[in-house]
Amino acid sequence: MIWQLDLSILSLIVVCAFATIMVKDLLSAAIIFGAYSFLMCLLWTEMGAVDVAFTEASVGAGVSTVLFIAAVHQTSRRVTPRKSGRLLSKVIGLVAALLMGLVLIIAEADFPGFASPFSPASLHLSPYYITQTLHDTNVPNIVTSVLADYRGFDTMFETAVIFTAGLAVIAILRRYKKDDSTEIPEPYTISEGYPDTIIRFVARQLVPFIQLFALYVVAHGHHSPGGGFQGGVIIGASFILLAISFDTRMIIGLMSEKSNILLGNIGVLIYAGIGFLCLLLGANFLDYSILSKVLPATDKVMARSHGMLGIEIGVAIAVMAIVISIYINIVSCGKYDKDV
């Protein structure tokens, strides 16, 4: 950890946070927020949280920015100030923020020193993970082994939360042609995509490499930063790149609503199914070591490693389908039936 780097990144983060709140144009706010996320990603790397940085780079700086821009594109860029009560709302906001800041500053006095190896959070549970992961699971990336094995329950329901979020977006936005055939106002039609040959060519050439990299991220998450969440988001992002540079309808042809929901289901079911398989073989739910009975030529340790790979694949499929589904719904405002 280099404190000069830490301090300069943090100062830039604060500048970006102020700028994204203050700027009048919503598109600029979205772009500055993307820069803010990218600085966050540098900050995580600097503090040694490489897996968090990878997730922030693909999710925060990548997909979130695209979602913001899609939403701004569908609504309006302008920000109009309040007609009345501007001062009152500012005062209420300031007082609440200052009060919360005061409480947190008082609490800060009792925090352990920053970057102290003896902070209570680093003394109780994590030493077990750090010392035992190679012995228990043969996975050197401790984050992966904690995510997929030691805290597998947690991750399973996180995946279910992503799936539920995808369903919620469909439930809120989706409008079917047969129910709602009368009005199709201009901003709601699917953006055609700007026909630029260079952008289209480069995007088309990039997509296979992005997807290959995503598969590497999923498969190599045991030994390097990465895993199911990051890999799934990167595959989803490759489809979103095609949707931006070509036409959203092309992606709907490739990944229809039905297949997205089906893939989301399959992903969560792979995760839960591996858990139930362990249960059927006579061990606890998600106790992968018992899988050595069915997997050829594996001992109990390697079975846990392979079990993790299985659930990472499930997570990747679910996250990919849901990211694409959320993007399609937001960019088309829920109107994407064929021949609209």
């Binding site: 404190w3 949280a49 979602l67 920000v79 309040r82 709302s89 800060e108 990336n141 809120i172 829920g334």
Partner: protein, 125 residues
């Protein structure tokens, strides 16, 4: 003075939380409120990751080679992986909540043709 300099991560996370809360309360535009919510979320993530950071520690991936005999693993040598796991999933869930929040904004815009809080309130009355 020493503690103020060394604890700057905590001060920055408090500042970012205040910015996020202010944006959620005081801003008129709903997209700006969603951005404030995201800033609030990242401030909490800074707090967690700062708690797990260790001085002179490396990333939580154990150095290994094929067939190499494992040396004794020193806990203080690796950053705390538990907070990383919790925050990794929090970031992924945050894109889910962001999608739902933006979907609600779009549904509001579809109905009231505005994303400004006071204009929507006028139409509600």
């Amino acid at each position: 003075m020493g503690s103020i300099i060394s604890d700057y991560n905590y001060w920055i996370y408090i500042l970012l939380m205040m910015i996020g809360l202010y944006a959620m309360l005081a801003k008129n535009n709903l997209i700006k409120k969603v951005i404030g919510m995201s800033i609030f979320q990242t401030a909490i993530i800074i707090f967690y990751v700062s708690i797990g950071a260790k001085e002179h520690a490396t990333i939580p991936i154990i150095a290994h080679g094929h067939g190499a005999v494992e040396a004794a693993i020193d806990v203080a040598h690796y950053a705390n992986p538990l907070v990383h796991v919790l925050m990794l999933t929090a970031i992924v869930v945050s894109v889910g909540t962001l999608g739902v929040a933006l979907a609600i904004c779009l549904a509001i815009h579809r109905r009231y043709n505005s994303l400004e809080e006071d204009e929507i309130q006028e139409q509600l009355q």
